[in-house]
Amino acid sequence: MVELFVYGIVLGSIISLGAIGLTLIYGILRFANFAHGDLMTAGAYVALFMVTGPFSWLGIPDHTFGALSFGWRMLLALPVSMVAVGGLGLLFDRIVFRKLRLKGSGVVILAMASLGASFIIRMLVLILWGADYRFYRPGLLRPALELPLGVKIRPDQILILLMVSFLVSVLHLFLQKTKMGKAMRATADNMDLARISGIDTERVIIWTWMIGGALAAAGGILYGIDVQLHAGMGWNFLLPLFAAAILGTIGNMYGALVGGLVIGVAQQVSTAFLLPTYKPAVAFMIMILILIIRPQGIFGGSHS
């Protein structure tokens, strides 16, 4: 049981990375980005391409760091993929969402457009890499460490937790301390007033896509390191992402972090009683319950 809880935290931290981006985009652009899960997939596969392609040709050493399952190539692929997927989100914004926004399209239109974007990303991944399960390091044995209370955890998973903590801390500092971070919060609070104050809200939107895409990419890569890669991986994450964002009050980054951890733990612990195939149903149940009992989420005031 303790072990399932620990695995839940690992899974939850990955869900959190996706949910934070989803909630930031919702907070500022006011629409549910159904392509967000597939941005995670894109991130995982961009990293796979870098690791097996350019970094291999460049002769970057292939050995792994100690007991971890990856080395320099992956460490370099992570930021490259984060920037690339941030750019992909931005690209979709420029060619699709921005045009709809300027036309004054409703949230449903924008959400449907994002659903279309999600299909495009997934099909591209299928065309380029096929439908098989892929690994960053096929055939590598990954021994687990024995922790007290009979918890077995792989060094990779510890690193995942550290990496998520690092990324969330950087985002926290960005939002609280920098001028652009504050402008993002102001725009999420009240876009009209932000414009009246002279804030360039289009620039804020660019930053939002870059950050949301980058975090999604990191989430996809970390999941790929922990488990495996598959063209449908991000799509399968979409439900937990929405459940996490809604649970933690949509638009609230800290809520999405907590929501992600709660959903991850609930999903893993449920496997003690249910078949693992029911994991998405657990996220779905939580989402429905929160929508019935407290639709504004755990961090929402009664006014919103």
Partner: protein, 233 residues
């Protein structure tokens, strides 16, 4: 003359709300615009600030034609605007709200922040509080403080007393006078005609989107027709 509105006709989609309205603001003046609901008072402020494109007419600021510029440009020219509702960032602290007001400033604006806090001492005391937790009167102070961070030449206020308790209303008007004393010209739209005219150097009465009267604040207060129609006298 700092702000000159010439023959403005404006409205939403097909319907004109304002019809050839003229309005002048001199340096350091308080100009109050009163009139019944739907007279076009708020529409006039929105048109000055570029939130609405006029169909006809001109907005001149210091001899420069700023008609039709977007709000994010106009705010750089020296006009700040406080909307009637949703005029703060509720999830941010008082200090952060004021910082957002200074967003486009690239210089060191700490002295300006100090001046704003001197104007509203209660805000300094609570600067780390989230604005969403504040009372209506304090929110209004934050809203005006945010707009003042850029040292505007003209401040546009849309019904600052709306929804406030009577005691707070006179307090807010007192503070508007204090802002004006620092040299900021103020254009204020108000339902509370009595108070608005009392402090105004100049007043305008709008009805059905047209200017029906303009005179000094005192003269309008004495005016029989104004008294009967808008002052409940």
């Amino acid at each position: 003359m700092i702000l000159n509105i010439e023959d403005i006709t404006a409205g939403y989609s097909e319907v004109d709300i304002l019809h050839q309205v003229n309005l002048q603001v001199r340096v350091g003046e308080i100009v109050s615009i009163i009139g019944p609901n739907g007279a076009g008072k708020s529409t006039l402020l929105k048109t000055i600030f570029g939130l609405l494109q006029p169909r006809q007419g001109k907005v001149i600021l210091n001899d420069e034609d700023i008609t039709g510029l977007r709000p994010e440009k106009i705010v750089r020219k020296g006009i700040s605007y406080v909307p009637q509702v949703d005029n703060v960032f509720p999830s941010m602290t008082i200090q952060e709200n004021l910082e957002m007001g200074a967003f486009i400033r690239t210089d060191d604006y700490r002295h300006r922040l100090d001046q704003i806090y001197d104007l509203f001492p209660i805000l300094r005391e609570r600067r780390k509080h989230k604005v969403g937790q504040l009372s209506g009167g304090q929110r209004q102070m934050v809203a005006m403080g945010r707009a003042l961070m850029l040292d505007p030449q003209v401040l546009l206020l849309d019904e600052p007393s709306a929804g406030l308790a009577p005691l707070l209303v006179s307090h807010i008007f007192e503070q508007i006078r204090e802002i004006n004393v620092t040299g900021v010209a103020i254009v204020i739209v108000e339902q509370n005609a009595q108070e608005a005219l009392k402090m105004a150097h100049h007043g305008y009465v709008l009805a059905m989107g047209r200017k029906v009267l303009d005179d000094t604040g005192d003269a309008l207060l004495e005016n029989e027709e104004v008294g009967r129609l808008y002052l409940g006298g």
